[in-house]
Amino acid sequence: MKKLLLITMFGVLATAALTAEGGVEFSGNIETRWGVAAPWTDSDTSAGRFTIGTTTFTGTIDAYFDNSSALAEGSVTYDAVNNSLEYSVDELWLDYTESIWGLRIGRQKAAWGKADGIDITNVLCPSDMSSLAAMVGDDSKLAVDAIRFSLSGNQFTADAYWIPFFTSAALPLDEGNSLRKFVVPETIEIPVAPGVNLPVTIGGIETPELAIWNGEYGLRVSGYLSAFDLSLYGFYGWDDTPILNYGMTSEAIVVSGKYERMAMIGADAALPIGETVLRLETAFFPQRHFQKEEGGSLQKNQLSALAGIDWMPSGWTLTAQYYCDAVFGDLDELERTDAYQHGATLSVSKSLVNETLELSFSGLIGFNDFDSLLSPSVKYSLSDQISLGASAYIFLAGPDRDGKYGAYKDLSSLCLNAKFSF
């Protein structure tokens, strides 16, 4: 059914492309990405095994006539590691924009915040965490089905969103998914029978009823001034990841899940200071649901913040960020053990040979466990259409605990990718 829908969608729009008088463009890309677990990962389960093996075709049809426009973007991915073929409607919207107001209706994406690679206020679109390929890809956000109403002036813009249909984060819960163990453990020890472990099975994940009272709402107001850019954000919706509950049968631990309401108010700013730009971002989540160790949730206030600096001296791009996240109140029953979590990122890239060759390095370190993610990469543009790349994703555990990123240490991978854009 999904396949039929996608083919029909492109068929209708392709026909429009042939019959419309100009203003219709078709573009897309084909990208192949392969990854293999690094030699230093677990030799019994990981080292030398393929972690990524995707080939994706993405097609975009963009039609525009005066103030009206429409866009359809879909992709087909063959995953050689899981031997699966997946289709997705990445964006599908129509838009009417006049000088001071505009309306966009349909499946759409938006990115909030000034942070690079870290979500502080960026809660509107859920993340795709279903595979390593999705997590390390350029576009790891999913679209939401929404109506966006915009007001614009010369120096400000306001976007209001109503998202009637909830879209959750894509989680790796399928049997055989190598990331599943990071969401739910493979076995759990029975508290009343120490030493006895039961396998974990996934029960139902209860999504919010698709009803008009279960919608999500977002508002962004941005000002662009000489001295600084400033944005204010408000969101009331659902947390993208479920709170898990654990039940027990004689044969297994059954994990069920439920999505909980979430609210956020936030702000960001960008200030050009001499040769640099200072970026600031913060978000407050009142009474957010946090996972309890034994299942279920507790509500706590949460505050996240980030400060970053960009410097782009001739051909180099340097970005450094410090981020922190605090949960207030007693954490005794929570899965999360640190009330204050913080870390830093560093990104360096250099373009060479008239920007045909790009060398880059990005690193992230968590200061609670001193775990990290290091990612060097090289990208070469063979032509305006074809680029070739090699990269590594190296997850390093902390000295005492694995930590958030160190937990993925056996997924450390060396990757190759090739992309054709048209």
Binding site: G23, S27, G28, N29, D62, Y64, S69, D95, T97, S99, I100, G102, R104, K109, A110, A111, K114, D138, D139, S150, S152, G153, N154, Q155, T157, S222, Y224, S226, D229, A270, L271, P272, I273, G274, E275, T276, V277, D310, W311, M312, P313, S314, G315, S351, V353, N354, E355, T356, S381, S383, D384, Q385, S387, K419, S421, F422
Partner: protein
């Protein structure tokens, strides 16, 4: 004889009184009348040292508000950078830096770009032009010396040396060749910190549209690396229509309204 000497002396004094200085010439070049609005498309050819060419096509629009000139450039090809947009506000006020934003469609984010220092001297989208070249240079940030006169492409030009007061720029000295008759830039030679010739800009294929003289081709040659970039303007329209103010906004970049 005495009368002749007196007359020559008088002519020399009057000549000295009315002679233009380097600053005067650059000020006049800066003040050459420009259209209030302009709209064009352009092809950017990026020529590598090995001889291969990469082509980029852009849409360019600008509007002069008196105290500020707003301009926007959006890439239409190649497809992997299509939609990338650069918005800049150049202020008339001499000491006020420009405001710059770069929209990256792949990330659906707009990044504020620093307007001064080395960031503005970075390559403009892989070309031999810098972000600074794409905007106006502040008149008061340089000292000027009139070096003489020279003919460029058959046009008599003033040769004016411009030296950065800050001396921190990658090319702190440049020599401008300004048309004597129309005060329009014909050529520019940029010298690096070692005072070695680094880049040469040549403007050719001049046309006059609605009384505004414009170079349809601008070539920036990096004589040190052997690369060059050529901007060929097409479909140039001056004051054809009052371009909607809302197109010179970050929102217009993000919503893909520059077509």
């Amino acid at each position: 004889m005495k009368k002749l000497i007196t007359t020559l002396s008088a002519l020399l004094i009057v000549g000295a009184l009315f002679a233009e200085t380097g600053y005067d010439i650059m000020k006049k070049a800066d003040e050459v009348a420009e259209a209030k609005t302009s709209s064009s498309t352009a092809t950017l050819t990026i020529h590598s040292k090995k001889g291969s060419d990469r082509i980029r096509e852009v849409i360019m629009k600008s509007k002069d508000y008196g105290d500020v000139e707003k301009s926007v450039i959006v890439f239409t090809t190649p497809k992997d950078v299509a939609g990338t947009g650069y918005l800049t506000f150049d202020y008339e006020e001499e000491d006020k830096d420009s405001d710059n934003w770069l929209y990256m469609p792949a990330m659906k984010k707009t990044r504020r770009i620093a307007s001064s220092g080395s960031e503005s001297e970075g390559s403009f989208m892989g070309t031999d032009f810098t972000y600074q070249d794409m905007g106006d240079r502040s008149l008061n940030k340089y000292d000027y010396n009139l070096l003489g006169e020279e003919t460029v492409d058959g046009v008599a030009c003033y040769k004016v040396e411009c030296i950065s007061k800050a001396h921190t720029e990658k090319d702190p000295r440049y020599i401008s060749y300004i048309g004597k008759a129309d005060y329009i830039l014909r050529k520019c030679e940029f010298y690096d910190r070692q005072d070695t010739l680094h880049r040469v800009l040549t403007c050719t294929d001049f046309t006059t549209i609605k009384g505004f003289t414009t170079a349809q081709k601008m070539k920036m040659e990096n004589v040190q690396s052997g690369t060059w970039s050529l901007i060929e303007s097409k479909n140039i329209q001056y004051d054809e229509e009052d371009i909607d103010d809302s197109l010179f906004t970050v929102a217009a970049l993000e919503k893909g309204r520059i077509r």
